[in-house]
Structures are given as structure tokens and as C-alpha cells.
């Protein structure tokens, strides 16, 4: 097995590397190290940009470094940072990645054990990961009081995958999609073209201005979705509410177990909306003059709506009906709207456009 060699390491540039990789992933060139621009700052106490005496003895030591690394031919940037936060912006020039790492620890000894690795592979994958030295070995471990935050500017056209443990993770300005994963941090995504995938234990997610498929998964925490357009939106959370506005996808599934689901926006002809909550209310709030839709709904309480529905009939525990629209439909296919709340209620209210814009 060929081992990929570390070609740059913030704070440890030129040291022997790590990372066992697959056969077809070999190092690009050790010469890349020479191309690194490393601006290293001496460790300073947090909150003291001039590196002077610390205002409080308990403030952590901070070591901030900035690197510009070449990324010619890069297709995927993967960031594994269990030690802290990750922020990614697609604003770098093609062929370059700017990395700012901020290490923090209670003392210099702990600070010196925090490492950032940068590895480039011939396959076009670039990996940036953080480790902590423990007992002579570098390990990827979650830290809370100590840690490393990474801020990256990448070329917009590279795909990005980022993973944190307790730290927030955010991505913006990307044009080839993003996959973000965190255990306890908040997720923020905005202005992204391409598929978006998230996994989260807790912390909440905000996703806005995405052109592409969106697949969001969470256990605890609210989800806030806005201005999405692509093929499909699939958002699932166990313990949290989902608020979605201005969703232009043809398939929209929003599912929560304990929280509320709210969808506000224009109904697209032939689209499929599937909104479900076990214990919370489901609120479907189409904007303006909605396109016709076929409704399939069930709830613990009677359906709450003033929308004129036609052909209402029961199918087991489900109620089926049609909304025909105010004008003859220009499209042959109505949308399908499925709304379900096992213990809560279902509300359908048409929103005047101006009122919705104020919300």
C-alpha cells in the first residue's frame, strides 16, 4: 500500500507525515511544501491581538496561523476537525486554498500538542484534518475547552465535505455542493449550488439559498430552510421543528417526530409535498393564488382550513380532497400534498403574498 505523504502542516510544516490511504492515492509533490506561504503568529492570550499580557489569567492561549496552499486540479476538499469549528467560503481564486487555523489551549504544553495536517492527493482530493498528540501518537479526538478552529477559503468549484464534533460548521459560496456532519455543533449553509447533505445529533440547522438537492438529517434541534430550488428537499429531525419557506423543488419531504412543521411558499404544479409530524402541528401555508393540488391528510384534530376543498372523502384514517384553484389550471397535473400529524393538528391557510413577505 502506498502511503500518502503529508505535504504541509500548519505549525508543523515539513515534519514527517501520517495518513495511510488507498493504493491510487499518492502524494503530489513534496515540493508543494516550498510553495506554502506560512504566516505564523506567536502564541497569544485570547482577546489580546497584540500578544501582550493576558487580561485574565484564565484566558486560553491562542495560536493563529494562516496558510495559502496550492490546490490546482482539486475536486474535493475534505475537512475533519473534531477539535473545533469549521467555516468554509467559496471565495478563493482557482488553484488556491486559504487556511486560517486558530488553536487554543489552557497552557503552552497543551497548545503544542494540537496539530493541523494538510494532505493533497493525485486523485484531486485535498484533506485537512486536526489531531491532538497523546502518548506519542496523533489522534483525532473531540475537545471542548482546548481545540482548533479552521476557517477556509476554497475555490467555489470544488466539492466540500466537513466534519466536526462539538464545533459549528458552516459553508457558503460553493458551486459543487457540500456535505456537512457534526455531532453537537450548529450547521449553517448559504449560497450553495449543488447537492447538500447534512448529518447532526444536535444543534440546529439553517440552510438558505441552495440550488440543488437537499438532504438534511438531525436528531435534536430546529431546522430553518429558506430559498431552496433543485430536485428535492428531504429533511428529517426527531426532536425539533422544521420551518421551510420559498421552496421551489418538485419533491419536498419534511418530517419531525416531536416538533412542528411549517411550509410557506408557492405551490408548484405536479410537485409532491409530504409534511409529517407525530406529536406537533403541521401547517401548510401556500402563497397567493396556489396551483391546484390533491390533498391527503390525517390528524388528531379536525382539519383547520378555510380553503375550498372538493370531493372530500375518507380513505381509512386519511381524508382525501382536491383544491381546484381560483382559475382554470394551465397545467394538466395538480400537485400532491400529504399532511399528517398523529397527535397534533393540520392547518391549511392561503397566505397573501404581502403578508408572507413580512413574516
Amino acid at each position: 500500500m502506498t502511503r500518502g505523504r503529508q505535504v504541509g502542516q500548519a505549525g508543523q510544516v515539513g515534519q514527517a507525515g501520517q495518513v495511510g490511504q488507498a493504493d491510487n492515492r499518492i502524494e503530489i509533490s513534496a515540493g508543494v511544501v516550498l510553495a506554502l506561504l506560512l504566516i505564523a503568529a506567536a502564541p497569544a492570550r485570547a482577546g489580546d491581538p497584540n500578544g501582550g499580557p493576558a487580561p485574565e489569567a484564565t484566558a486560553p492561549l491562542v495560536d493563529r496561523r494562516e496558510i495559502v496552499v496550492p490546490a490546482r486540479g482539486a475536486e474535493l476538499v475534505r475537512i475533519d476537525n473534531l477539535l473545533g469549528r469549521v467555516g468554509i467560503r467559496g471565495t478563493a481564486r482557482p488553484g488556491e486554498i486559504h487556511i486560517v487555523s486558530e488553536k487554543r489551549a489552557a497552557n503552552a504544553e497543551a497548545l503544542s500538542r494540537l496539530r493541523v495536517h494538510y494532505t493533497a492527493f493525485e486523485s484531486g482530493e485535498i484533506q485537512i484534518d486536526t489531531r491532538v498528540e497523546l502518548g506519542g501518537r496523533e489522534r483525532s479526538l473531540p475537545l471542548a475547552d482546548s481545540g482548533v478552529d479552521l476557517w477556509l477559503e476554497v475555490p467555489p468549484d470544488v466539492a466540500v465535505e466537513a466534519k466536526t464534533f462539538g464545533g459549528d460548521v458552516s459553508a457558503s459560496g460553493l458551486r459543487a455542493g457540500a456535505k456537512l456532519e457534526t455531532t453537537g455543533g450548529r450547521i449553517g449553509i448559504s449560497d450553495v449550488r449543488g447537492g447538500v447533505v447534512t448529518h447532526q445529533l444536535r444543534g440546529g440547522q439553517k440552510v438558505a439559498a441552495v440550488e440543488g438537492d437537499v438532504d438534511l438529517d438531525g436528531v435534536e434541534g430546529d431546522m430553518d430552510l429558506k430559498d431552496l430550488g433543485g430536485g428535492r428537499v428531504d429533511a428529517r429531525v426527531v426532536d425539533g421543528s422544521i420551518h421551510a419557506e420559498d421552496i421551489r423543488d418538485d419533491f419536498v419531504r419534511l418530517v419531525t417526530t416531536t416538533g412542528q412543521v411549517v411550509l410557506i411558499g408557492v405551490i408548484r404544479p405536479a410537485a409532491h409535498y409530504d409534511l409529517r409530524s407525530y406529536a406537533g402541528d403541521v401547517r401548510f401555508l401556500p402563497l397567493g393564488d396556489p396551483a391546484p393540488f390533491a390533498l391527503r391528510t390525517r390528524s388528531a384534530r379536525p382539519l383547520d382550513t378555510a380553503v375550498p376543498l372538493h370531493g372530500a372523502r375518507h380513505d381509512g384514517e386519511w381524508l382525501r380532497a382536491e383544491y381546484l384553484g381560483r382559475r382554470p389550471a394551465p397545467h394538466p397535473r395538480a400537485a400532491l400534498v400529504e399532511l399528517s400529524s398523529t397527535l397534533g393538528g393540520v392547518v391549511i391557510q392561503i397566505q397573501p403574498r404581502a403578508a408572507a413577505e413580512l413574516q
Binding site: 500500500m1 495511510g20 490511504q21 488507498a22 492515492r25 474535493l76 475534505r78 475533519d80 473534531l82 489552557a106 497543551a110 500538542r113 492527493f121 482530493e125 484533506q127 491532538v132 497523546l134 502518548g135 489522534r139 483525532s140 479526538l141 473531540p142 475537545l143 471542548a144 475547552d145 482546548s146 465535505e161 464534533f165 462539538g166 455531532t183 453537537g184 445529533l201 444536535r202 436528531v219 435534536e220 428529517r236 426527531v238 426532536d239 419531504r253 418530517v255 417526530t257 416531536t258 409530504d274 409529517r276 407525530y278 406529536a279 398523529t342
Partner: protein, 234 residues
Amino acid sequence: MAIRDPRSCAHSAETLSAFVDGDLSGTEAQAVRTHAAECPRCTVSIAELSALVTAARGLERPEPPPSLWPAVEGAMARHDRPWWLSLRLFGSGALAGAAAVSVVALGLTSWRTHRAAAVVVAPVAPVVASVDPLLNEAEAEFASAAAAYERSIEKLRGLLEREEPRWNPAERARCAERLAQLDEAIASSRELAHRTPGDTVGNEQLFAAYQQKIAFLAEAVHRGGTFHEGEPPR
């Protein structure tokens, strides 16, 4: 989520072994994690391989007795002395050399015994409280995440208990059987994760097992007893 036929698993034992060793690329490792989240058999295989790796790690660096190096150093120093001094000190030098050889032999014997015992008896020494503050931080983070998963599972179990009486006995039995499988995967993953402080791979497997159970419970709560994992929504 689908229960997969283990014979159709995309990942061979070699791939799982490479995953546990950390030899896969990020993409490949993620593919294995995604698969394991849906495949109890691979979850258990990974847990078993992690146990082997953990056991092997314990064998990599047998701690020599503190007296070993001084004894060897003493023997080397004696070797550098003039022949006449060696002759004069023959008695004590021979004793030091013999002691060094004995200690090395004892160390090797001990290492071999340890190794044989570890291969036969899988369990590794229990976790000893760490004195490294960074390792303690990591362990606290893992514990906090595990507690959050447990809370969500408890909450879902409460909701499921509300739903189950509406199901027929066969549906309840099927659900109980699946939950028992998931509990088994969680228990074995938890045991492995707790053997070695700061075992990220072990904890990731534990969290994957928790996620599997949460996904199952959420689906069961939403769809009732008639659902099958992997089915499209009704």
C-alpha cells in the same frame, strides 16, 4: 433503512479491516460508515475488528522493567573497559551481564505470555482513569454525545409505548426482535468504545448504532406496526 442480506454486503472483511486500521481514504471510510449504519452484521464485524486492533495496540509496546536499560548500559560500559580492568572486575561484570540477559529473557517471556493470553482471551484490560486533561476532555465529549443519543432514544421509546398497544401481537414481536438486535449492537459497540480511552473509531461505531436505533424508532412511531424498514412512506 433496509435490513440487508449479509451476503450482499459491499464491504469485504479486508475493507472493514482497513477501515478499522484507518487505512481508507475519507470517501471510502464514509462509505463504510454509511453502510454500517444500515447493516447490523457489518457493525458487529467492525466492533470485533476494533477489539482485535485494541488488543494488538496493547501489545505493540511492552513496558520494559525500569531496571532493564541501566543493566544493559552497565554491560556495554563494561565492554568498553580495558581488558585488564575487565579481568579485575570480572566477577561483578559477569553478574551485571547475566542480570541484563536475564531481564531481557524475562521481558521476552512476559511479552510472549502476554501476547498468547491476549490472543486467546479477547478482553483487554479495563479503562484506567486518564491523567491527561486533553484525553479527559475527549472522553467527556464522547460521554455527552452518548447521553444525548440515549435521551432521544428514551423519548422515542416513550412514544412507541403509546403506539404499540394498537398493533397486533405479530407486529409487536417483530418490533421487539429488531430492537433486541439493535440493543445488542449498541451494547457490543459501547463495550468496545469504553475499553480504550479516546477511541474515536469505537465511539463512532457506538454513535452509528445509536443512530440506527433512533431511525428505527422514529419510523416505527410515525408509521405504526405495519411498516417495514426501507419501504417508501405510505
